[in-house]
Amino acid sequence: MRLKLFQDSVMKTLCYFAAVMTVAVCLGIILYLVIKGFDQLSPDFIMTEPNPTFSQDNAGGILTPIVGTLLLTFIGTLLAFPWGLSSALYYTFYAKKGKLRDTLSTAIDILAGVPTIVIAIFGLAVFTNPFWGFLSSRVEGVEGISKAFGRSFWVAGITMGIMILPYIIKTCAEALKAVPPSYIEASYALGADKRQSLLRVVIPAAKNGIITSVILGMGRIVGDTAIVWLTLGGTLRMTGLQPWYSPENWPSTLQNTGSTLTSYIFYTSPAGEGNMPSVAFGASLVLIVIIIVLHIITDYISSLGKLRDEE
């Protein structure tokens, strides 16, 4: 008996140890980034363009990587959100229980489990087809072989959209399922048809869940490196017509390559060609701040939902 009690308390202590380790690792990572990255942070670092050079002082800042991250998030969400929400509506309110629905939801589950690196090479395989040449630039082959370059903001953004699609579908479907059936019944009773009930009653009621799902999707895009590295290329600067920020050059910017915060970190880390860890830490700090802000927003929205439920 004594021995058992002793064993129990040892195990319990080990569990506490595990919890402390977890917190220590998390705080350790964030503190380490803050300490290493804080010196680097300045309005200048954020507002200037990166400059591929060997000298640390002329390395420039992370303006174009930040813009790149925003662009990809925007394109990806713009593709995945309407697509995902309408699929979720179909699964939740139209699909009859049966083979079709089972197959589709299994397919979505599998898609959610596919590593992003695989989705990245899929994007590359599809968009190097000359048919999609308008999304990137065309490479004129020697013997009349035409091939698209397959690396651009459009391509990477669309691939990102495909990557987050299954998550958006799943989380939106959950949000839609949580709407009480009485809402729809009430709407039917007032003479609305299914489309009107869904658009005017169910979606507004599931608003918080849907917004959370989109923000989670954005977080995944912001944090992804594999897709960026393969489908946006490893260039630091915007490679379209210069200056990239003037509106008449936007189409060209989107058709060409650039970088995001994640690919900038990869490039400037000792694993990439830049090997300037200090700027990589600066960019990491900015990245983690973006992630934490997205996190706080979702927490806030879900706390709104809880408050309403308790009333």
């Binding site: 977890t22 998390c26 697509w83 397919a107 589950d109 599998i110 590593p115 695989v118 880390s269």
Partner: protein
């Protein structure tokens, strides 16, 4: 007339939804087909040799420097398979005890405010991008391994090792295991917390009512009842580990060695390359058709594994529902 128009609109709306749902469902098939077509060149030449032969790094290098006609389309990825299995298994060994331990504390043995803070920290950890784990692994874990386990004599000795020559730099299987373990631990913890919370309260109350100590209730009642959720979590975490490309390509070494048991402890210091990180690592050589096809073949293997994993989590979930 008016109601007729409404019906048409309703119908169109329904069909738009149907098309988007079906397109979403077909996406995985598109992905598989596109990748398989590109992979066929290497897979058809290599056959079973693709998984039973070694020497991936050397084959990539040879293909890169040979002229277009002379390239070999034969690639052997045994080293990549072994490295993928070892890193994922090692990471799970590290993360499963830590994850379950933390989850138990969060669910059962902490004050509500602390539990809330802990689960927030865990979710934050789960959403830290893998590139940051990779960067920290490269800047902290790799130098640590190099300083504490690798002496210059050891480096020289292994440059001329009779079994397998390699350059020990700290980027190694061990670094991969540690970084991957830290990466998948929060996911595992979060899923375990969900699984424990899903156990009906009455189970716990019945146990406590019988006079069993709180700890015993957790280990003998709650965890066994949450078993299927735990399994699903472990499978998911394993899937994440197998598919992790960026962080592992940064810390694990990038050479397709097969770690040798005969090396003793140096087994863990061997630089390795996993299937997913091979695609990132060698992506710059993709302009060569044979290499492109070889990397897509790695993609095919990754898709098949992830399919297997997703299907088995579904089976586990279904088995629970049946019960």
């Amino acid at each position: 007339m008016k109601s007729n128009k409404r019906m048409v609109k309703d119908n169109i709306f329904k069909h738009i939804l149907l098309v988007s749902a079906v397109l979403g469902g077909l996406m995985i098939a598109f992905i598989f087909v596109f990748i398989f077509i590109k992979a066929w060149g290497v897979l058809s030449v290599s056959g079973l040799g693709f998984i039973t032969e070694t020497g991936f790094s050397e084959q990539i290098r040879d293909s890169y420097y040979l002229a277009a006609g002379e390239q070999t389309w034969f690639f052997g990825t045994k080293g990549l398979f072994i490295a993928t299995l070892l890193t994922t298994a090692g990471a799970l060994l590290l993360a499963v005890p830590l994850g379950i331990g933390t989850a138990v504390i969060v669910c059962e043995f902490s004050h509500r405010a602390i539990a809330r803070m802990l689960s927030s920290v865990i979710r934050l950890l789960a959403s830290i991008p893998s590139i940051i784990y990779g960067l920290i692994g490269l800047m902290v874990v790799v130098p640590y391994i190099k300083d504490s386990f690798i002496s210059p004599e050891l480096q020289i000795q292994y440059l001329y090792d009779p079994i397998m020559r390699m350059q020990l730099s700290g980027k190694s299987l061990l670094a991969g295991i540690i970084v991957l373990g830290i990466m998948i631990m929060p996911i595992l913890t979060a899923l375990t917390v969900d699984a424990i919370k899903a156990v009906p309260k009455s189970y716990k109350e019945a146990g406590l009512g019988l006079g069993i100590s709180h700890w015993r209730v957790v280990t003998k009642i709650l965890l066994p009842a949450a078993k299927s959720g735990l399994f699903a979590g472990i499978i998911l975490a394993a899937g994440r580990g197998i598919g992790e490309a960026i962080a592992l390509s940064m810390v694990s070494g990038g050479i397709s060695n097969v770690p040798q048991v005969a090396h003793g402890g140096v087994f863990f210091l061997t630089p390795v390359l996993t299937l997913a990180s091979a695609i990132v690592n060698k992506s710059e050589a993709m302009s060569v058709a044979a290499i492109e096809s070889a990397l897509f073949s790695c993609g095919v293997v990754l898709i098949l594994t992830s399919m297997l994993f997703s299907l088995s989590t579904r089976l586990v979930e279904r088995a629970v529902k049946m019960k």
